[in-house]
Point group: C2
Chain length 337, copies 2
DNA sequence: AGAATATAAGCAAACGATTGCATAATTTGT
DNA sequence: ACAAATTATGCAATCGTTTGCTTATATTCT
């Protein structure tokens, strides 16, 4: 029934040679004669020999594993990012250890602890909404474990990051609305985290400024992304004297909750109210009234680029290299439906 | 900048005791005196000592890691299952290594290879659509690495599995439709895999038999889950002389593609045609015309139960135990919207 | 006090692979 | 044919931790 897993020791015994010779033969070391090399490789294949990774990991002080910490797998956005990460990792013969913070700081730290104990070679992370300090990540770098932040990047200096700029696309989105005649565009923003750059809002301001449309601060409202709060703030918006004719929604969750509620209020979508959003759900194509445009952030790309950056950091042992690699900013794109 | 990671050896040197004493002190071994124990634990804490997992893994021949192989993370169903798995794993201080087969057999095997090489202690798997033999899994069990199949379970004997029976709920779903007066219910089934039990179809037959409604084989059609094919088979159904008034859809992908296309054909949803489906997308609540009912399969539960079963297998070293544990079948539930 | 017992700590091997250095075996040059 | 150069192989330490067995120290009993 259960077989013993073969080791180089057994190969060495059967061939009456030393284990070092076997090891070198399997690695095509030049100082091993052709005959021996062939013999060893043949026997190894016959015995289904496979090097014991745990032994190698231990000896080399490397696990060939990277940790990937995400807020959530439910968000399609992150599931897509994983694909990019996995692909690059696979190309480099690395494994990926995934952990979900569920937007909980304590859990994020706990996951990081487990990963550190398991001696991952590097960490990729999209921080939780609660994360307001990156002390726990800095601690990793003390032990020479590089950390690359992606997508949700803390707004602090001297970190390695990959993220997608939303500034230009936000401006594009508003230009689109302005061009369609909208003058009162509300922005339903997500939870304010001091640590994430607020490019949506910056773009919102800039687009207004550029088009010489005055900002009405009461059109900027905040939701915690829950359905209830989104509905409440939307209702408040529609009770304004100067109510908006269009909505810039923080993401598709907010957009869909808004659209659903608007319909309940008997508003005509795309007539009384238009919605533009930031894409995280591809499902919107099944809706009768999807947002008229979305900002696409190319999660797969972001994941891949972040992983490539991490491998660059892993390759460079000297601390000077690490400082030089820096940050990568990708471009988002407005997709008009 | 970069610190060296402390080991028990250093602790031993600083306290002028042996490493075995340190090791035992940290493990609360009874043969270590209280004074020494305290000293060691205090110093270890001060030095931020953390046991080197790679060394332990190597020594113990255990990685405290389970492999989880899924067809796809895009399907919300599997993302939810992961949560159940993660939770149970965390409770047992285990890590989870996730791999996506993308419904590709070759990839499934490759992932399994990597996991075997990394010496995972056990494997959880929901097989790919292409998987028509389980040889690659049986090979694992030869090395005493238990395998638990879940959700998509191959239809072969002598395996450990956790899955959710769809039989009863399928009957419930059809009863619901029959009660609403439908007499011609089409079934759009997914790709036929010889290795997965076809409970949907069995339920479909049984419900008809029980209600003495004759089966019309032309109402049973097959899609490969692509939008194009789903639309084609639906169109063919609607061209029948005795066209159906309701559809039992293989899953929400099929259901939504069907509904979308029906609307394009100017059919009135829930009047000309009603749809019942198997839940994999919670998003359906945002639709104007969602399926009238869905069969819920409780992915989180399934994941958790499967992981518990795997741990049971890991705990029992004797091969007899392994045979006894067997299979777990959960119940699905019809949710009427 | 001296032997028997209980308590505390250390020695050394083991896990599987890698690798610098030494040594053995073979070939080449003269 | 013998030294020199080349090629092939082996020895042994190492990574950090665990653990069976031995030994040293302290306590208890008679």
């Amino acid at each position: 029934m259960s077989e013993k897993i073969p080791t180089i020791k057994e190969i060495a015994q059967k061939l009456n040679i030393s284990i070092s010779t076997v090891s070198r033969a399997l690695h095509d070391h030049p100082s091993i004669g052709l005959r021996t090399k062939m013999q060893v490789q043949k026997l190894a294949a016959e015995m289904n020999y496979e090097p014991n990774q745990t032994a190698i990991q231990f000896k080399q002080g490397k696990t060939f594993t990277i940790g990937l910490i995400l807020p959530n797998l439910m968000e399609e956005y992150f599931s897509l990012a994983i694909n990019g990460v996995e692909q690059v990792a696979l190309e480099n013969n690395y494994n990926v250890l995934i952990g979900q913070s569920h937007d909980d700081l304590e859990r994020e730290q706990k996951i990081l602890d487990t990963m550190r104990r398991h001696r991952v070679d590097g960490v990729l992370v999209s921080i939780s909404k609660q994360t307001n300090s990156i002390g726990h990540f800095e601690q990793l770098e003390k032990y020479n474990i590089p950390v690359v932040f992606f997508d949700r990047v803390p707004n602090v200096p001297h970190i390695h990051s990959v993220w997608c700029s939303l500034y230009d696309s936000t401006i594009d989105a508003l230009e689109l609305l302005f061009k369609k005649g909208h003058r009162r565009v509300a922005y339903i923003q997500g939870p304010l985290s001091l640590n994430i750059k607020n490019e949506r809002l910056e773009g919102y301001y800039e687009a207004h400024k550029h088009n010489k449309i005055p900002i009405n601060e009461s059109l900027i409202v905040t939701t915690d992304l829950s359905k209830a709060v989104t509905e409440k703030v939307f209702e408040k918006l529609m009770l304004l004297k100067d109510k908006p004719t269009a909505i810039l929604a923080f993401n598709d969750t907010v957009a869909l909750d808004t659209i659903q509620y608007a319909k309940k209020m008997k508003l005509k979508i795309n007539k009384d109210i238009s919605v533009v959003s930031y894409a995280n759900w591809p499902i919107t194509s099944y809706l009768d009234y999807p947002p008229i445009a979305s900002v696409e952030q190319f999660p797969n790309d972001q994941g891949a680029r972040a992983t490539e950056l991490l491998f660059k950091l892993l390759d460079s042992k000297s601390p000077e290299d690490l400082v030089a690699v820096g940050n990568i900013v990708l471009k988002s794109k407005l997709i008009v439906h």
